[in-house]
Each structure stands twice: as C-alpha cells, then as structure tokens.
Symmetry: C2
Subunit: 310 residues, 2 copies
DNA sequence: AAGCAACGATAGACGTTGCCAATCGTCGCG
DNA sequence: CGCGACGATTGGCAACGTCTATCGTTGCTT
C-alpha cells in the first residue's frame, strides 16, 4: 500500500470524478484509474461504484476513508514537523556543564545565547566531568562545557576561553597582603573539592601538591569551599569566573605568579549531526568571554572585572 | 514519502542496527541503508547518528517517530478494516420496503435472515416506491423490496414471490357469504390507499375501476384501511401477507375469482458491488415465502395460513 | 435514428524506483 | 597486523508508476 494511492482515494471520494480527481492529484486520468483499481484489488473490496453518470463511494469506502485521511494527515505532519526540525539552530539543545563553571558562566551567557540563537532551547545539565561524558556518549546530552580535554575518537572539542585561577585567602591570612601569590605557597593549607571535580585535581597540580591530603576536608561545591575559606579554615584556588562570588563572601583574591589556570572547552560527539548548533553556542560563549580574557595572564582583570560588568 | 520507508525508520529506531532492522523488514541491509538515507534527504534532517559502534536516533527522530508510528498504524487499520469489509455478506445492508409489505413480511423473514446471514446487519427503511427508488439511486439504500417493476438500465430486479390479493369484506357485507368474489364486484364500494401507494393503483386496476373515485376516502396505511373495512365503510383488496392482520381485525376474506395479485421483487443498482448480498437476501426471502406460494392461485392457502405458521 | 460528447477502462512504451549481491571503508579487538 | 563487525557504495535487474493514444459505453442532441 502506498500513501500516494491513499491520496488518490481521498481525491476521488471528494471529486467523485476520475478526471477532476486526477487533475487535483497532478496525474493523468488513466493513472488514477489504474492505481485505484490496484488499491481495490489489494484491499479486496470495491471502493467506488462507477457508472456512466457518476462515481459514488461505497459504504466500505466510507468506513475506510477516516483511516485513510488519518494516514495521510500523519504523513503531512511528518513533513511539517521535519520542516521545523530542519534548522540545526532550533529546538532543544542539552548542554552539560561542570559544577565549578555552571553557576558563574551561565548567568553571563544566557542572555547572549537567547539573543543570538532565539530558536535554540538550551537546557543546562550540571554534573561532574565523568558523568557528563558518559551522558554525552549515551546521547542524553548534545554538548558539554568542560575544563578538560576529552578522550576518544568519537568525541571532539574546541577551546572557548582560558580561565586563570586565583588565590582565595581569608582576609587575615599571611598571603593576603601580597600583590601576587606563588602557587606553591598555597600548598600548605589548601582546601579542595571532593573527588570527581576536575578543579580539585587541577588546583592540587597547580600548587605542586602531592595529592595525599590526609584528613583535609573535601568540599562538595565551590560555594561551600568559598564559605570555608571566608571562615578562615584555609586557602584555595578558584576559577576566575567565581571571583565575584568569592568577593561577595568576603574573601581576598590574589593573582597567581605562574598564571595557573584552566581552559574551558565545548565538547561533542564527532558524529553529532547538529554540529552547527555546537559551533554557534561555542561562538557565542567565546565572544562573551573575550573581554574577560584580555590581559588575563596577570589575573587582575578577572579579580576586578568578573561578574561585575554584566 | 512512502509507508515502506516509514516502516524502515521504525525498525531502525527499535533495533538500532541496520542489519537486524533490515532482517526484521525482510530486506537486505543495503536496501534499508539506501532507503533510509533517501528519507533523511527528503525530510532534510538526520534521523540517525551512525557510528561504528552503534546507531542512535537523533532528537529529531524522536520527535518524528510518533507521527511515523501513527501513519503506519493507520495503514494497518486500513488493511484490518478492509479485511472485515471484504465479505459482501457482512456489514450494513440498507433495505427499502414499501409500507404495504413491510409490516407483514418483515416479521416473517427477520429470523431466517439472521440465521442465514448472521453477519449482515439488515436495516429496513419504509417508504413509498418512488421515494425508495430515489434513495436507491442516491446510494442511500442498497436494495428495495417492491411490488412493481423498476425502470432504467441502471437498476435491476429479481422476482421473489407472487402474492395474491384477497377481497376484504365487512362480516355483514353481501359478498361475505360467497366462496369466491369476482374482482369487478368490489368496484362499487372499494376503499383504497392514498396516492403514491402502488397497492392503490393495483387494487383499482384489478377490479376494473376507472380511477376517478370522487370523494372516496384515501387511507394513509393498510392498517387504517382494514379498520375502515371492519367498521363497515366498504370493501378493499389486501395483499395476501396481510391476511392475518385482517382476520385479527374481524374482517372476512375471500379469494378472488381471477386470481389478481402482485409480484414482490427485490431491486438494486446494476453496478452495486455487493450483488452477492442482494442475491442472498432475496434467496432467503423467496425460500421463506415458498410455502405460502403453493396453491396460491386459489388464494385459500393465504387466507388460512398467512401469519399463522411462524 | 444517427452523430457527438463525456467518461472511465485499456494497451503499449518509457523512465524511475526499489531491490539484491558483491564489494568497499572504517573501526575495534586479539 | 590481520580479522571480524558494520554501515556505505556500486551495478545490474525486475517491478512499478506514469504517460499518450485509443476503446467501449452511455446519454444527449440534431
């Protein structure tokens, strides 16, 4: 059975005239005649009672026409929906973001994304790197914002911006009076996030820490970490975009001497068909962060500017 | 777009494997591969993300698959309904019957019809001959039970049985003492039905009446006519099948000398596709009436038997 | 009564489509 | 590095849909 034949059937039921129905379908009268006879043979029933005077649908035709219209309507719907889905810059876009980035980056880029890609419904999903990569591979997410490289030929990524780390100190800390802090100086009393956060490993690596922290507390979120530093429990490294939140918590921030930092990138499946959407989202984020990146080697731009010029 | 391609799409969405999906569809893997690519090109969107490891439906595919399943389901429904409609001896059968026949014939044939044609839903429609023929030509009815011939090459008919007329007399009427009544003797005080009833013309013709009845009353139904005769207003001719009702009304019935009567036939459109149903209905009715027809020339069978042996 | 017009059915030719078997290219694994 | 699994590609073939031209029937008109 063919959708075309069903359209012929509908046309004939409406026009009750082979010639005019054929014209409405854009085919010749013999074509419609032959195809309709085939359909009747396939179904094993007579759909139309032909006479020299008029063509009339049989009761069987009346019983079937509803389903026939339904099938054709669904086919039309498929085409219509497909037309809407054709734009890769439209529709849902599930974007995974790591927890140390999401609360500080999203407020910055939400408005620009809405403006540049109004048809794209960006749905953020916050989780740690490993979980995000897993969900990306499982097609549960369309792209990720990470601070690490991705592994495997099935995944690809593009750098969006470089984000320097800053030393986060209690106001009364010995290092708080310095203009710059050497990364290794933080190793003694550094506080870090729980396992699984990429920022934990990167912070430890930046300050040359062995990784064996003994009984040191591991914060479950950057927000917790900041409050602990503010309370004088120790120091930490925070990503530049969190500078605003840190300052609000009453923490002293200082640039790092060696310019330690991380690279934020957008990652996606190599075969993902909506590469254009990934590219567009990445471009918007990179453009939004370009101002922050200038002169960021020194880190001062981030300390004074991040989260303040929106 | 083709229903076949939509089935391929569903299979691939379910199996997530070209080879197995193709096997499920009964085609080779290249066939499914090519057809699916064509479908994607037609829709302008990628439906499946292929990798060496796995095949995954895209979000666009997820959005479309509902409509796709809907279209295929409607197609299946068409086939299923058509299968039920294939039997010409099943389904609605709209049967027009004239008012002087319906009340007396239907009770006789309803049970036999249900028994012989259990799947046929016979829907009686009572009206006068002209209206019935009009509705038959308009495809509002499937067949008619008439007492007249039908005209036109578009219609055909078959004789079912011969039905004699009987003289209906008030018990105290002068003719009531006779064994037989000569038709012409009724002309003097005959009562007839209203215009449009074929029985009216046939009764008048049988007794040689001119047709100009002056102020004579014209009954709107045979039942009314019988009550009028019973009340002594005059005489009439009734069809044999109404004998039971007439006797119940206290009317004296007498056979007619010349054996006047009418022929009941079933009529249908020449091109009507369910000729088998017409034939079957006609056969059941003819068989049921066969007993009544024997020896009906004299008319006595009908007087004593009609409506009594059911 | 004969010719004509309208209509659906039929026939033959042609281009397209769907299909299969065979093969290729890629990727992952031992 | 070879092998196996998998999807993509190719070439040939048969079936299908479509066209133009024509036929047969029917109803109307002259």
């Amino acid at each position: 059975m063919n959708l075309r034949d069903l359209r012929y059937m509908i046309a004939l039921a409406e026009h009750r005239h082979f010639g005019r129905a054929a014209e409405a379908c854009g085919v010749s009268q013999p074509t419609l005649s032959v195809q309709l006879r085939k359909l009747e043979e396939l179904l094993g029933i007579t759909l139309f009672e032909r006479s020299s005077k008029a063509v009339a649908p049989t009761s069987a035709c009346d019983r079937l026409i509803g389903h026939v219209r339904g099938a054709v309507a669904e086919a039309e719907a498929i085409l219509a929906v497909a037309r809407d889905l054709r734009d890769p810059l439209a529709g849902r876009f599930r974007l995974g973001i790591i927890p140390t980035l999401a609360p500080y980056l999203l407020p910055l880029v939400f408005a620009p994304l809405r403006e540049a890609l109004p048809a794209l419904e960006v749905e953020p999903w916050e989780d740690q790197t490993n979980a995000l990569v897993e969900r990306l591979r499982a097609h549960d997410l369309d792209a990720l914002l990470l601070a690490t490289e991705v592994e495997g030929v099935d995944l690809a990524s593009r750098t969006l911006f470089a984000e320097p780390f800053l030393a986060a100190l209690p106001p009364d800390h010995a290092l708080a009076s310095r203009d710059y802090v050497v990364e290794a100086e933080l190793a003694r009393d550094i506080l870090v996030l729980a396992d699984g956060h990429c920022l934990r490993d990167q912070a430890l690596a930046a300050c040359g820490h062995s990784g064996a922290l003994g009984g040191a507390l591991r914060a479950s979120s950057l927000s917790t970490l900041l409050n602990m530093v503010a309370a004088g429990y120790g120091t930490t490294l925070i990503p530049g975009l969190a500078a605003g939140a840190a300052q609000d918590a009453g923490i002293v921030l200082r640039p790092l001497a060696a310019g330690a930092g991380r690279t934020v990138r957008i990652a996606w499946r190599t075969r993902f068909p909506r590469a254009a959407a990934v590219e567009a989202v990445g471009a918007v984020i990179a453009a939004r962060l370009r101002g922050f990146a200038e002169g960021s080697a020194a880190g001062m731009t981030w300390v004074s500017g991040a989260g303040r010029d929106a």
